[in-house]
Symmetry: C2
Subunit: 209 residues, 2 copies
């Protein structure tokens, strides 16, 4: 199948949404947890978290335009300055997916989807107890994009993960963590570790055929 730009523009809206959301490849499956200054908790699925740097440790994600429907995650991040990123595991993909629902104002996805909020130390925002990998984030900045989205950047303040999921080199085993990926808007994939290659040095490149 081959589509040019003009043909993509003329596709049925749902078909185009599914297709263009699929073409970037597998996406990380995370829940972002927040809390308003009035202690209203919120949690929502995001598939756009991206690594920005290790020192300082920074992650980014894409926030949809805020004009369409009232969303709580972004206002909560801006007013409190904190949020959490929590890996979705195979054991709760359905609950996680349904956090994308537009609930009534003031209703918490934690309660409706029966996910348990967890507070770690004095970190302001709620983590998702069911997650194996939990990241406490501090908001840094938000870059407006031309299509109305925002690229939200934060620093890693706290990292929590299972002891047995990390090796001596600091590599986290996502299969051991029950990690999953998302394709498109709503398909979930399990992960099977294939291979780990060394850091590539020019004089150690094998001969390829």
């Amino acid at each position: 199948m081959k589509y040019h730009k003009k043909e993509i523009e003329q596709l049925d809206r749902t078909y185009r949404l599914n297709l263009v959301n699929s073409v970037s490849g597998i996406k990380p499956a995370n829940l972002i947890g927040t809390k308003s200054l009035e202690n209203q908790e919120n949690v929502a699925v995001f598939s756009s978290v991206v690594h920005l740097g290790s020192n300082p440790a920074q992650l980014g994600f894409i926030m949809r335009p805020q004009t369409e429907v009232p969303r709580d995650t972004y206002p909560n991040i801006l007013e409190s300055g904190f949020y959490t990123i929590n890996h979705i595991s195979e054991s709760f993909i359905k609950k996680a997916h349904y956090t994308s629902a537009k609930l009534k104002r003031g209703e918490s996805e934690f309660k409706r989807m029966k996910l348990e909020p967890e507070y770690i130390g004095d970190f302001f925002a709620p983590f998702v107890k069911e997650s194996h990998v939990k990241i406490g984030m501090k908001y840094q900045e938000s870059l407006p994009l031309s299509n109305g989205c925002f690229f939200v950047i934060g620093s890693v303040e706290l990292l929590v993960f299972p002891d047995q999921a990390i090796n001596k080199l600091g590599q986290l085993d996502l299969e051991e963590c029950g990690g999953v990926g998302i394709a498109g808007l709503n398909s979930y994939y399990g992960l099977q570790k294939l291979e780990t290659f060394p850091y590539v040095r020019e004089d150690e490149i094998p001969e390829f055929e």
Copy 2:
């Protein structure tokens, strides 16, 4: 395991690099193909491609700081205005990984790693023939980040993928495409489709336990 920000800063450099690169979850595995105006071809592995929007169809990715070592991808994109994003499949993960080598100036990773450049119609940049999903991209803008990286944004000009990998809804089956994900800097994971959920409507949320 629990690390606070201060402890992350004090970790051994390689351990921190591996760990912080792992914590965002599974990442899409893509090769970005470019060509200079002098027809020098270049291809390199990127794990930071992210969906920005479907109409107009836009993707972004993170480009490392350009000060460290000479890299060809970014200058080629800026001078030619075009690049390609090509899914890495399980059948060539090793070749794809080794495109991260710092080759001698002027040496093509296509030739060294024995990957085949493919030109489709009059699109300027080379695709990777071995890839199942190929995206022709037009450069739009580049947002500088505080850590020296750039967030590079482009529009989807051309989409090529196998007929049998897409369903009637426009959903691409990444397992059917032999798609893989990357964890951290250098671990590759196969994908197994688990489940596809419907678009969530408030009145169709199941009762969770």
